[in-house]
């Protein structure tokens, strides 16, 4: 057993994981209509590569952008492109965005794929290229492009790959069920990722409350027999599954404020991502499905489903027996970090790991918000060692600038502070608000800078034009005078 460390704070939460782990993993039905939001990341829009009315096959690329931080979108089944229109997207704003709508034809024909044989014969560049073109992003929830993480700025500094199977948020069991069903794929996926990074050490972390997943991984590991890979059970403390927290627990290293894990020589990938990498490199398949936990007391039979990306939530709920009488609130993601959705006619995306329908008893009490009593509990539980109450004062008093000095942007929005606050202050909401305000300020500043530049250039051009005009007028006057002089001379002759 490896020596493990501890991160600051954290909480032992009621897990509620048993709700969705009873039934075995099964494939969800292919829906009649699949929806793909074209906005890939804030400010990055994908351009559709198909026309309305065109027939597409499973695995065919539907849209892509030239941006380095974005990945292409692929069709999850065969069918006809019905429209490109505004639909509600899974976003805390509840706003609509441009989406590609695919009408399934039920045949599920797939694009012919080329497999590359042994991945060891590929160069790291071509592995990254294949991963990018397969549309693979981090499946833990942040959906950051995997290929970008595999190309660190200082590759020689990287020595460890961490496969994150520590699914710490209550209710969510999609990684657990993935590991139990296909442990070998995750291990081979990890081998491919190590190959792409050119490193020799990999730690696969699962929580100690996932004994079946741990046993499955260990069995697969003995069969594959890769000594570079170590499987570690980590204590179940929320949020161990946070990238930085897991790195701390496994290696004792602190990722610097404002830095990334690569700064301490580590690349962290989710277990689902490793499995997707396996599918892409070994089987040549693009990322078109993922496992999603549909759970909560508001669902009649909670379970894990292998879902085609783009499936509407209402279809998934229906396949899990529908809403129970207790259903109160629809949440995408977990109870700590997820966001509420106002409607179930919204499609799941690559980042969706859980659909949670809570009952009234599961929702945190709507007790009135009371003044902060400065008890400091929030600072005790903060896994990033921030001072939530200081951040709170600055956020709510229009002094968001000061939040920066208290490292607001290191906040991972885990919700531990909300949970322990005796005054029920929605601290994380304040931090999200302050982050948004600061980011808007930065955006405004760039826009102002651009406007200033354009105005200055215009003023210079105007000056030049005026000068040229004056010059021309002068010349004209001179020639005119000359001509006049000539005519008067001629007149004089006469």
């Amino acid at each position: 057993m490896a020596n493990l460390w501890r991160f600051n704070g954290g909480l032992h939460l009621n897990e509620h994981k048993e709700l969705s782990t009873h039934t075995p993993l099964r494939a969800a039905e292919i829906p009649a209509e699949l929806v793909y939001p074209l906005q890939l990341r804030p400010g990055i829009q994908a351009t559709p590569l198909v026309k309305v009315g065109e027939r597409v096959l499973r695995g065919q690329c539907l849209a892509d952008s030239g941006h380095g931080f974005a990945t292409p979108i692929h069709a999850s089944t065969s069918g006809i492109i019905k429209s490109i229109e505004n639909r509600l997207v899974p976003h805390p704003s509840g706003l609509a965005g441009e989406c590609l709508v695919l009408q399934s034809d039920g045949k599920d024909d797939a694009l012919a794929v080329e497999t590359c044989g042994d991945f060891r014969s590929l160069t790291p560049e071509s592995v990254r290229h294949l991963i990018r073109n397969a549309g693979i992003v981090g499946l833990g929830g942040a959906a950051f492009p995997t290929a970008v993480k595999l190309a660190p700025k200082m590759p020689q500094q990287i020595d460890t790959l961490i496969i994150n199977g520590a699914e710490c948020e209550p209710y969510i069991t999609c990684d657990d069920s993935l590991i139990r069903s296909t442990p070998a794929q995750i291990i081979v996926g990890a081998q491919i990722l190590m190959h792409a990074l050119g490193i020799w050490r990999c730690l696969i972390a699962v929580e100690d409350t996932m004994p079946q997943a741990l046993a499955a991984l260990q069995l697969a590991q003995t069969e594959i027999g890769d000594l570079r890979i170590e499987i570690i059970a980590v204590p179940t403390v929320y949020p161990t599954g946070g990238e930085r927290q897991l790195i701390k627990v496994l290696t004792g290293k602190e990722t610097p404020s404002g830095g990334i894990p690569a700064d301490v020589g580590i690349v962290c990938q989710n277990a689902g991502t490793a499995a997707a990498v396996f599918e892409a490199i070994v089987n040549g398949k693009a990322l078109t499905e993922r496992i999603i936990t549909v759970t909560g007391l508001g669902i009649k039979s909670p379970q894990n489903l292998r879902v085609r990306i783009g499936t509407p939530i209402k279809d998934l709920v229906q396949q899990c027996g529908g809403y129970s009488a207790q259903a109160q609130r629809l949440i995408m993601g977990g109870p700590m970090m997820g966001f509420a959705l106002a409607h179930d006619d919204i499609a799941v995306v690559k980042a969706s790991n859980c659909i949670l329908v809570t009952s009234a008893s599961e929702i945190q009490s709507d007790a009135p918000v009371l003044p902060c009593i400065r008890c400091g509990e929030c600072a005790n539980v903060c896994p990033v060692q921030l001072l939530p109450q200081q951040l709170y004062w600055h956020s709510r008093s229009d002094q968001v600038e000061n939040c920066k000095t208290f490292n607001l942007f290191d906040c991972i929005e885990c919700g531990c502070c909300n949970m322990v606050c005796p005054s029920h202050i929605p601290l994380v909401q304040y931090f999200r608000f302050a982050k948004g305000k600061l980011m808007a300020k930065v955006q405004d500043a760039t826009k102002t800078e651009k406007a200033k530049y354009r105005h200055d250039v215009r003023s210079l051009r105007k000056q030049k034009e005026d000068l040229e005009k004056a010059e021309r007028a002068k010349k004209k006057k001179a020639t005119l005078e000359k001509m006049q002089a000539k005519t008067s001379l001629k007149e004089g002759d006469i």
Binding site: Q39, L95, P368, P426, K447, K450
Partner: protein, 176 residues
């Protein structure tokens, strides 16, 4: 005594030389004030653009609360920069409005190029007798193009909330 006189002379020469060598062009505070202003060049402050207003503030000829697009945040930023007391925005110069961009109703446009000449940031495209259009991404919402348009075909449209510009709203403050 002589040494001291000599030293004076030497230092005098050094100072004289550096005054010429490191001469500062213009007033640096004007640049700093200008950087805080929103660069809409709208002229609502009573000066023909942001830099003239910045120059006037630096010279003490204008107050810091005359810029409606900058809003109260802008007044506070100026007060911070100049080390003076912040004051409420002077509403005689106009009230802050929601951020908007100009839109040309192209079917009404007669192609007179007057708006193109008025735009301080070259955000309007078009040529004589052809419909013009606004590059929304570059438009600062200064409204200077509204006045010269002879057919009133330019309207100001508030920027709609989208996934790109949506920000988490502030939680309700129900306590003290």
């Amino acid at each position: 005594m002589l040494i001291i006189c000599l030293l004076f002379a030497v230092f005098g020469l050094i100072l004289g030389y550096s005054a010429l060598r490191f001469k500062v062009e213009g007033n640096p505070i004007v640049e700093e004030i200008n950087a805080v202003l929103p660069q809409t060049q709208c002229g609502q402050c009573g000066f023909p653009g942001c830099r003239p207003y910045a120059t006037a503030i630096a010279a003490g000829e204008a107050d810091i609360n005359q810029c409606p697009p900058g809003g109260q945040d802008g007044v506070i930023a100026l007060a911070d920069l100049l080390g003076v007391e912040a004051k409420p925005l002077n509403e005689a110069f106009g009230q802050p409005k929601p951020k908007s961009v100009a839109i040309i109703i192209e079917k009404d446009c007669i192609g007179c190029v007057k708006c193109i000449q008025a735009c301080p940031v070259d955000a309007i495209l078009g040529s004589a007798k052809h419909a013009h259009t606004v590059i929304s991404a570059e438009c600062t919402g200064c409204e200077l193009c509204l006045e010269p348009c002879p057919v009133d075909c330019i309207i100001m449209q508030p920027i709609a909330q989208s996934l790109d510009n949506w920000r988490m709203p502030e939680p309700e403050q129900g306590h003290g």
